[in-house]
Amino acid sequence: MLRGTPFHERTAPLCQAQNWRRWAGYLAASSYELTHDREYYAIRSAAALIDVSPLYKYVIRGSDAVRFLNRVLTRDVAGCDMHQVMYGPWCNEAGKVIDDGTLQRLGEESFRLTSAEPNLRWLCDNAFGLRVTIEDDSDTTAALALQGPTSREILNNVSDADLDSLKYFRLAFARAGNIPVTITRTGYTGDLGYEIWADAQQAIRLWDILMDGGRSYGITPSGIYALDVARVEAGLLLIGVDYIPANRALIEARKSSPFELGLGWAVRLEKGFVGQEALLEEWQRGPAWQFKGLELDWNSLEKVYAEFGLPPELPMIAWRTSVPVYAGAAQVGYATSGCWSPTLKKYIALAHLRSAHAERGTSVEMEVTVEHRRKKAAARVVDLPFFDPERKRS
């Protein structure tokens, strides 16, 4: 049976839309209000409170913790400072991505790793013979994302953390009310924002403290629809949508390497890790695919709809299907997520493109279905992210 998260007692009455979805065995609200517009704008102009408890969370401790994580992750964990957070993927031995997530360095020998899919077996397999313990804290740790321009002020008000000095991708141990929490300056929105990690037993009180403290700053419980639009604008990957985890792929072609997912920056080829050899080879060869942004051309979009006497119909909720991308008659890729960006006022999509067609500025066409007919609209290849406000890092 699908379970409620530790915040369910609070989120359930707020969910006017009753459009729950499943997320890792939990109930998650797609939106709380009947449409998600206000929730989206909270992310970009106030503060959105998003229940991200269904993330898988593993606490890794032990004298070999760094060696272990360095073996699993493509990033250089030895270079992860105390209280730093790192985002990155991990791969199978063929260098294909299994999952991606954030790694928090809680102490000299303790870390918290988050993931979208269950990874305990993979972690344990790789921990064999090393002095580490891996604890699955998924159910016992509650997590909230507080995202948006006013999030810092809210947290400054309700906690004893000094958030003005907390840099992007760093963490702080603090108390909110008197609840011990870990605050990480991370998020899935590409905006100024934080994620707050606490014992699940304190979840309801934490929720109340944040909602009370955030009221005058426009704090708004937000659902997955709003989050999805924000993460497309931020050019952030979604597992199972933008890529298929290697251990779930039925055929080789469905697997992706970090290079093919735009995560080459997160791969440290000079250190030993699972998949290193294969990735080194791929790097020398050059990846076959690139993960890029597409901006659809408004005039072209108007034109294909005008054929049927329609104005462009825009996806306010992000779509998550595979849509062909063409260069002339040849298919050169496929888009996997797309939406209308309310902030940028553009129709944007995330796409896998053959390397030859992935250069920024390349003109391509994306399939658009209008009145049950397949049409093509002109689009331009752009770098990710689409939206990158200064406040995210400052």
Binding site: R67, E93, D125, N126, F128, G129, L130
Partner: protein, 528 residues
């Protein structure tokens, strides 16, 4: 003294010594490191009680791979092999007994006492066994074919195997392929009706494995034990004059004469891996020795899980190594005897005491013995394989006295509750003596001293993981190109310059020397 060696061999087991000798013969500088104070691994003879010497590990050899003996001039180094004749003597509780002999005519005569029908079947059965083992022999002389490989060389090897199979002729080919995965019970029931004959042959199909004769693949193990023996000789066994340890001494002598350095009391703690290749070893105590190649005679679990830092190995490979079945089921009881056992069904001294003595009155008996082990308990009535080497080798015991070594099965390494502590060790010894006393009642009073080696002792003394005498179960899923794990059956490892040469590799366990011989050939191929 720490000048560079070309190769270090970890463990002076018989396979390790053989690999060392061959590699040295090709001109490499080789150092063998042995944890114990004596060489041989499980091929050792030890004076356990004053004046009584026992083969504490392997107490017989089924067959030594022939080229070894000549290549390494083992006879010059003191090796003398004594074929047991009869090969096996099996008493029963109803006053019956059966001996199998090296001369098939004698065997047929012996069987005729029990069943005309079985006597008539003997030659046909022996011919089938010869055909099947002939096929295995071809397979064992070379490195295993990589079934999944697309390389031309590997495909050729597969074709050669297929060619060898086809040469049997269509009918025999089908027959051999049919019996390979069978159970020992099925195979023997097709040919024979006499319980003690079937039990005694079937025992070869279960020796050392966590299976009863009703398990698939036991027919294969039965055939494995007969590879390289002459047609018609079943349950073959050889002894080494002076004890199995003399084999190790001969091998060590041969190795030394080829320039190999052997150090005993040198316990390797880990294999040093640098830049993805084996670069030497570190000993307990801190000494580090550099070498271009490291060759491990230890079993694959010990090698990859204990000696190598796991971060140097792939996830999938480690998982596969972890999943290799060991499940030791053997124990050893060594008896110093004041007088010979007197079997009720064939009283007095006689040639029968000079063969293997097999307590295997029927296949059902063996399966029942396994039933107990299946649930983690010592067999109420265990299968026993005993030898009294002092009969043919009086130097092993004081004048007029004898040594008797007994392989006991099933004594599962993993007990349902508890571990192999002292009281269980004693209970095991008592169980064996009680069992034997049913057939030879004077045994209890004949015992002067008793040594019991539980599977845990076998692990601690000989470094046999879980007490498995074969360095990994000899079951169909762990043989040929799947030994030790699929994809790594060529004695090499995912770490460059690291090799295996022990019984955990093809063609597996038993004192044959074939793994060590094959390993040396593969290593030299890669080194040159």
């Amino acid at each position: 003294m720490n000048d560079t060696y070309d190769a270090i061999v970890i463990g002076a087991g018989h396979n390790g010594l053989i690999t060392a000798a061959y590699v040295a013969k090709a001109g490499l500088r080789v150092l063998v490191l042995e944890r114990r104070e004596l060489v041989g691994g499980t091929a050792v003879t030890e004076e356990v009680f004053p004046g009584f010497k026992f083969d504490t590990g392997a107490h017989r050899i089924s067959r030594l791979y022939p080229p070894l003996v000549t290549d390494l001039k083992l006879a010059d180094h003191g090796l003398e092999l004594l074929p047991l004749d009869p090969t096996v003597f099996a008493p029963t509780l109803d006053g019956g007994h059966l001996s199998l002999w090296r001369n098939p005519e004698n065997t047929i005569d012996a069987i005729r006492q029990l069943s005309d029908k079985d006597a008539a079947s003997w030659n046909g059965f022996a011919a089938l066994v010869a055909k099947a083992t002939g096929l295995l022999e071809t397979l064992y002389e070379s490195s295993p074919p990589e079934a999944l490989s697309k390389k031309r060389k590997d495909r050729w090897a597969m074709l050669r195997m297929a060619g060898r199979l086809r040469r049997l002729g269509k009918r025999d080919m089908v027959e051999v392929l049919r019996i390979l995965p069978m159970t020992a019970v099925e195979l023997l029931d097709e040919w024979f009706e006499t319980d003690v004959l079937k039990g005694t042959l079937g025992a070869a199909g279960i020796t050392g494995i966590f299976q009863g004769p009703m398990a698939a693949g036991t027919a294969y193990l039965f055939l494995h034990q007969h590879v390289g023996t002459k047609q018609g000789i079943l349950r073959p066994a050889l002894r080494v004059r002076g004890g199995t340890g003399r084999l190790a001494q001969a091998l060590a002598g041969a190795a030394r004469s080829l320039g190999v350095t052997i150090r005993t009391g040198a316990w390797v703690e880990r294999i040093i891996v640098e830049d993805g290749r084996a670069a030497g070893v570190a000993l307990v105590g801190g000494e580090e020795i550099v070498a271009r190649q490291v060759i491990s005679n230890a079993d694959p679990k010990r090698t990859f899980l204990d000696l190598v830092d796991p971060v140097n190995l792939g996830t999938e490979f480690l998982r596969r190594v972890r999943n290799i079945k060991f499940n030791g089921v053997c124990a050893r009881v060594n008896l110093a005897l004041g007088e010979l056992p007197d079997f009720s069904s064939l009283p007095g001294d006689g040639p029968h005491l000079r063969g293997l003595i097999s307590i295997s009155p029927s296949l059902r008996y063996l399966e029942r013995a396994f039933d107990d082990a299946k649930y983690g308990e010592l067999s109420r009535e265990p299968f026993l394989e005993a030898v009294i080497p002092s009969l043919t080798d009086p130097s092993l015991a004081p004048q007029g006295k004898h040594v008797m070594s007994i392989l006991v099965q099933y004594a599962p390494y993993h007990l349902k509750d508890g571990v192999w502590d002292e009281s269980r060790c004693d209970a095991l010894g008592d169980r064996v003596v009680e069992t034997l006393a049913k057939y030879a009642p004077n045994i209890e009073s004949a015992i002067l001293h008793r040594q019991v080696l539980t599977p845990l002792d076998l692990e601690l003394v000989f470094g046999l993981t879980e007490g498995n005498i074969y360095h990994g179960e000899m079951t169909l899923d762990q043989l040929i190109f799947m030994r030790p794990v699929p994809g790594w059956a060529r004695y090499n490892a995912p770490i460059k310059d690291l090799y295996l040469c022990g019984a955990g590799t093809h063609p597996g366990g038993g004192v044959t020397g074939a793994p060590g011989y094959n390993a040396a050939r593969e290593i030299l191929k890669r080194v040159k």
